[in-house]
């Protein structure tokens, strides 16, 4: 219960909750008028954007003690996986959209 109350009293949490709520509405607003042709690239682009989780991986990796090998190895893996998500996601999306670009020129 305390934690729920703290959502409104703790300024840091309050700020984060505001971001959450506004982002939910933004996400809905931004997507709601999209032609079905673009569903696949859009899904792929969104997929790349949630790769932002890599920032957490970098912070974890960068704070791990140099003698905590398990943390280092797990963090290392996390950064690789996150990078794959980001890089792969954006490149794949770009390749899909490249097809549309070609068509537009004609």
């Amino acid at each position: 219960m305390e934690s729920i109350i703290s959502l409104f009293t703790d300024p840091a949490t309050y700020r984060l909750m505001t971001i959450v709520i506004l982002s939910i509405f933004l996400g809905i607003e931004v997507i709601s008028r999209v032609p079905s042709v673009l569903h696949t690239p859009l899904m792929s682009g969104a997929n790349a954007i949630h790769g932002v989780v890599i920032i957490g991986a970098i912070i974890v990796m960068g704070q791990a003690h140099t003698d905590d090998y398990l943390a280092l190895v797990l963090g290392f893996l996390a950064v690789i996986l996150g990078t794959l998500n980001v890089v792969g996601g954006f490149v794949v999306t770009d390749r899909m959209l490249e097809m549309f670009g070609k068509k537009k020129k004609k």
């Binding site: 996400g27 954007i49 949630h50 920032i55 970098i58 794959l84 390749r95 490249e98 549309f100």
Partner: protein, 471 residues
Amino acid sequence: MENMILQLIYLIGSITFIMGLKMLSHPDTARKGNLLAAGGMTLAILGTIFLYRDGNGEGLHNYAWIFAALIIGTVVGTAVSKKVQMTAMPEMVSLFNGMGGACAMLISIIEYRHIMANIATHTPGTGTMIVVVLGMLIGTVSFAGSIIAWGKLNGSIKDRTIPGGQGINFILFAGMIALVVMVASGKFTDMPALFYGILVLSALYGILFVMPIGGADMPVVISLLNSFTGVAAAFGGFLYDNPVMLTGGILVGSAGTILTILMCKAMNRSLKNVLIGSFGGAKTGGGAAGSKEQGNYKEISLNDTAVLMAYAQKVMIIPGYGLAVAQAQHTCHELEKVLNEKGVEVLYGIHPVAGRMPGHMNVLLAEADVPYEKLLEMEDANDQMGGTNVVLILGANDVVNPAAKEDPTSPIYGMPILEVEKAEHVIVNKRSMKPGYAGIENELFFRPKSSMLFGDAKKVLQSLVTELKQM
């Protein structure tokens, strides 16, 4: 100072994500939007590496590890995505999504170990524990589910219904919630067995949740898992008080949910239907319907097909996954050109969920330079169907199955279909009489108007082009 610059960078990152997503939803700006978001991401990553300071004002270390991992990820990620066939895109997206989920899972595991190491001096708050545990749970479900979806799409994992699967899933879900409450409430925080128990349960849940869902519904599932990973990333944002992770994650979480619903709408199915009344379970019903109705089908030769098409006024091509598998999009465009030279009008009828993902066929045919105006959406295609002489179905099945309109017991009943029977002739190209991805028989093949043209889509199209050129 560093902190201020970093906050500014994060703000810019968040803005590029929002604008990127917005631009991605319009054909003209989509590519720029993607690049914009990628730019914002790069900025946020570099900013974090060099400018991040923790509560004590200390920066990050282990730079060698970080950069090694970044380089490996970038090289492998670029190589794989450049090499992958356009047809394999859906499973690629699913795989990358799984990577993101796994990343969130690992972050939570490391953070939990960190909390445990310091528990004697520092008791973690309930909020922190909730964030760590739920981040891991959602990340793991997304990871396990995405890997199963990936395996199903590339054919290495077969559809399988687990007897009593619903019940097992419910028990798993209840078990997870109970454990989360126990760990987060603080009383059992120092029992790693519970924490890793959640890990195991959520992995199982992810697997069992996706396993029975049939291939035709897979895009919806991938989209849903995509939004899960977004939420998992957002938990990381809470953990590190990091606005860009929060915005990016929640944005994808909500946009992904909307996209999932839009996809369901395109298939005229509710999300609940997809998740609970999955196609896998309906296989038996479809099979029974098939056996009662199985009549004779007639075959048509290549030559006859060529003649029929050459003397038609209007031909409509209905592409499906068979076209994608055979990589026949270029040959298909060639056939269209040959027919055009003979004065035949050629159109494409695109079902919103033809292929493995909404828009899959549009991407493929665009790759082959098929003009945009020739790709008709389902409603327009159905309007044109009446005046069409020949419909050529290339490896599509469920999207033309009349059972969707006529048979209330069919698992795809209610899904809008391309009404090919309004046309004069229906030629179906398939490799065999095997049922389509939803695993159900298609009565269309036995109807009087239909003729079967067996063979690999690409080879058949090549032979058709040769035949037509000789005429």
